[in-house]
Symmetry: C2
Subunit: 547 residues, 2 copies
């Protein structure tokens, strides 16, 4: 080979910081506190404060590679840790405040966090697991609300910590493959696993997020990351905004629909991103009060984290003129992997086809590659029908977990097994039909629990439906549906099957329904199907023996 | 440090090819031949043909790192070499068909080209320097026009060459730092020097070109690279279009304004890019025939290669509603380095300020860093006035020339000395005032030859003006102006000085004017100021002795 003769300029987050200071010093960062007041600063101020934070962390003894954890809502000081810790050589570790304290304790210990930055409003949560965390040397408290009683001697006020430091920090030259951030997955089975983003992976992800055909973050944008910064780096939006120099608006803890709509209208947000639950609530409120909020500045909303119903995407567009972009990703993919844009060649097709594209999980963004494989590892055809586990690869896809756990998620030929069961159509649009552990394998055929759930939840009496695999003597597994009925409503197995039978092959219909008051859930609100299988896995076998 | 745990996925051009095939197979590539017929194919076809080309090159004995030269206009087969040669491990070397045959011979020899791909319409040029090139083993002829007589036995027809090959090529896994392309600078002094782009530098450049705030190439775009593919990879647009999946329109050899306007209107071009000369001609024609061409599809035109006059940028916008984006770059910067966007915070200022931003060379795109330095190497203030040599660094900036020539262009602390003299204002907008070798150093003060030329060329009698340094016994150097008058017009030293004196400090005014029929030029059409200094360098000394 002949070597290129271009500069060995490392792809590190330090460049984002310097760029924001150099060109976008006047642009604003707005943070909403727990008491709903807004704090406004600029990138110039953010740079100074981030430099001071880096100086303070060094003073506390933070060394290259050390983990600096955050237990914080989305706000400017969280952003200062996001940039300052990695740029000085440390690693930011975002703790998910929605997890159970025991899980948080496990994760903080596993990551060996040295410093924890905690919102004062979240100190009660921190105190629930602080004792479990042996590695922590310093606790830095973000004064996001008035102090409740005396701070313990081990807890340092964030502002007091950074006050004595200089406005400039001698940022070191870093290896682009060094760690910048650790995020833990919230697995429904087994312990949470750590994903270690490098500077390189985050930079490349940011460049692609800013591509016009991805999210296309621009300097003129006002970006509202509703998605928490403790979820896969808020989908990379904070980094994208800092690189582009966009105005940033952080919502703090108030994520209810009216609070978000007030903020979007007041700050003229142009790009907002969040999970379907958030957008469902917002759509409902907009439908109830059309015209109440001026949302004319919005040019793009991004929805991801779990599959968004087509009615949500269509509702925003048809009733409120708001374009929703559906994206797919995971903690393990930094996180944006695919994005649902209607291809130019399909833009003249009928509305249903276009909605079908927009409601899919889309196709891979540049430098991500996608395939789906069958149970024997064979690569499956892109026919829009064949279901298989999605595998991806690319420079911002994990190659292993922190500590080497879960090696079975990485194939020998270099792909990551996502655990999502999908179909891929001829155009490359992928559609998630299940999690691989939830797909129902009936006599060699795969049945999508998600498709059945969506159909059942369209029945007027059904509040919630979770479809899961029950053991079956002949077919190995058969679908069973757990149903929560709306208050005062009734439905029978026959009625429910009649409601959905037109949509599915006969063998897809659930063998039986179990009615309950509440479906067991994980700490992040997902159906806990392992629990359902534990409780009802032998339901059909028992029926068989009693029949 | 703690290492990130993300995949070691190389940044290579192979991904662009695979991506175009996988997701954008139906999208079109249109090439205009020398006889003005249009040839239409698709990315699916392009992928097959590029694979076949790779197979054919391997069959010819092309090995990793070997140079495959092109002597071609912009067309699809040139694009096939652009992707196919690097993806199979070779290096594409674009020969600039506007150079003198002796220069071409020097360059092809220096790069040790093994294979040359030549347009049949350019065979006469090739035959002028073919004998000088000792390294070439195979000549592949692109049948862009009917054959003139018999082909020599050493010349292989492109289509016959690739016909027997397979539709798939086993693309090797490449090191992202391996060479992908060599481009030679056309220096006005000394021999041309080779810049060796790596896969990594080209990929990163492409990702940034596709950023919404840079050029923002999208799948829905129709991209017309007017800038030749033998000029710094046509500013990276062919790669950007392939990655994004955009429709590509190649103009072939017809670059006159009516031909370009016909093509832009017929193919509904959305992004076009070229040098100021091209756009000046187009603007003139549009002004003469307003409404003749439907240019409503255009959303962005990019202008670069040399400084564009503000009147050009303003004329397109104010008279034809077309947005022109001014960019700066060099062969050594892959090439996009800076881009002139009006910052959001300045978008509410007066029109003159905004035009001042748009007519500047802009500020650095992400991952390029800029500074300007004085003669003693001191870093200069960003005050909009102090002139100094622009230095840049970044992952797509050259770290050395092929063969190690010109080491003085690279600073010890890792910056590339561009040779452009600039001012940088507080916002970071840079404005080129000169080439460093042309700036006039008068008694310790710098005088911009470009600023004087622009002012002189606004005089109604002046067709062309070239200002250069003449030796001076007291001030070391003083400005002297070479003037070509318009036919039938006259002007005196006094009249010309009177025309410009309001704009400049008195010591900037040329000490004398020399009137001539023609200003000596380089092969690429730039003023050859070395020749002017050779002829008139002692003009003031002689005046002094005769006075």
């Amino acid at each position: 080979m002949l070597a290129g003769r271009m500069m060995d300029f490392p792809l590190t987050l330090t460049h984002f910081l310097e760029r924001a200071r150099t060109f976008f010093g006047r642009n604003e960062i707005v943070s909403r506190l727990p008491d709903k007041t807004l704090v406004r600063t600029t990138y110039a101020d953010f740079y100074r404060r981030t430099s001071k934070l880096a100086g303070a962390l060094a003073r506390l003894g933070v060394r290259p590679g050390d983990r600096v954890a955050t237990l914080s809502w989305n706000h400017q000081r969280h952003l200062e840790v996001y940039l300052g810790a990695p740029a000085m050589g440390a690693v930011v570790h975002t703790l998910n405040l929605r997890l159970h304290p025991n899980e948080l304790g496990y994760i903080a210990n596993h990551a060996e966090d040295k410093v924890v930055v905690v919102d004062r409003s979240l100190l009660p949560l921190w105190h629930k697991f602080a004792d479990q965390v042996r590695s922590v040397r310093h606790v830095v408290v973000v004064p996001d609300c008035p102090a409740q009683g005396e701070a313990t001697s081990a807890e340092i006020d964030y502002e007091e910590l950074i006050a004595p430091e200089k406005d400039e920090y001698p940022w070191p030259t870093l290896d682009e493959r060094s760690a910048a951030m650790i995020c833990y997955t919230s697995g429904t089975t087994g312990n949470p696993k750590g994903v270690v983003y490098s500077h390189r992976s985050t930079v490349l992800h940011t460049l692609v997020v800013c591509n016009a055909d991805t999210i296309g973050v621009r300097e003129a944008d006002t970006v509202l990351p509703v998605v928490p910064m403790f979820h896969a780096a808020a989908w990379g939006l904070p980094y994208a905004a800092v690189m582009a120099g966009s105005k940033l608006v952080f919502p703090g803890p108030h994520l209810d629909p009216p609070s978000l709509l007030d903020l979007i209208a007041a700050e003229k947000v142009t790009i907002a991103a969040g999970v379907p639950t958030i957008w469902l609530g917002i759509l409902q409120l907009l439908d109830q009060h059309p015209g109440k909020w001026d949302l004319s500045a919005i040019r793009s909303t991004v929805i991801g984290g779990s599959a968004a119903p087509p009615a949500l995407i269509d509702g925003f567009k048809s009733r409120h003129g708001i374009d929703v972009t559906h994206a797919w990703g995971m903690t393990e993919t930094n996180p944006v992997g695919t994005l649902a844009r209607v291809k130019h060649g399909l833009s003249q097709t009928d509305d249903a086809t276009k909605l079908g594209c927009k409601a899919s999980q889309g196709y891979a963004v540049p430098f991500v590659e996608q395939r789906h494989v069958g149970e024997d590892g064979q690569i499956l055809p892109w026919d829009g029908e064949t279901m298989g586990e999605l595998e991806v690869r690319g420079p911002w896809v994990a190659s292993s977990y922190f500590g080497g756990e879960g090696p079975d998620r990485f194939t020998e030929d270099g792909w990551f097994k996502t655990g999502d069961v999908v179909t891929i159509d001829r155009e490359g649009y992928l559609r998630i039909t299940d999690r691989s552990k939830d797909v129902i394998k009936s006599g060699g055929e795969w049945i999508s629990s998600v498709a059945l759930e969506n159909a059942l939840m369209s029945h007027p009496a059904v509040l919630e439906a979770a479809v899961f695999a029950a053991r079956h003597p002949k077919w190995t597994e058969r679908p069973l549906a757990a149903i929560v009925l709306k208050e005062g409503k009734t439905a029978t197995k026959e009625e429910l099957n009649a409601h959905i039978e037109a949509k599915f092959a006969k063998f897809w219909l659930p063998d039986d329904y179990v009615f309950m008051a509440q479906i067991p859930r994980t700490s992040t609100g997902k159906f806990l199907k392992t629990k359902l299988r534990e409780l009802y896995g032998d339901h059909l076998e028992k029926q068989g023996s009693s029949a």
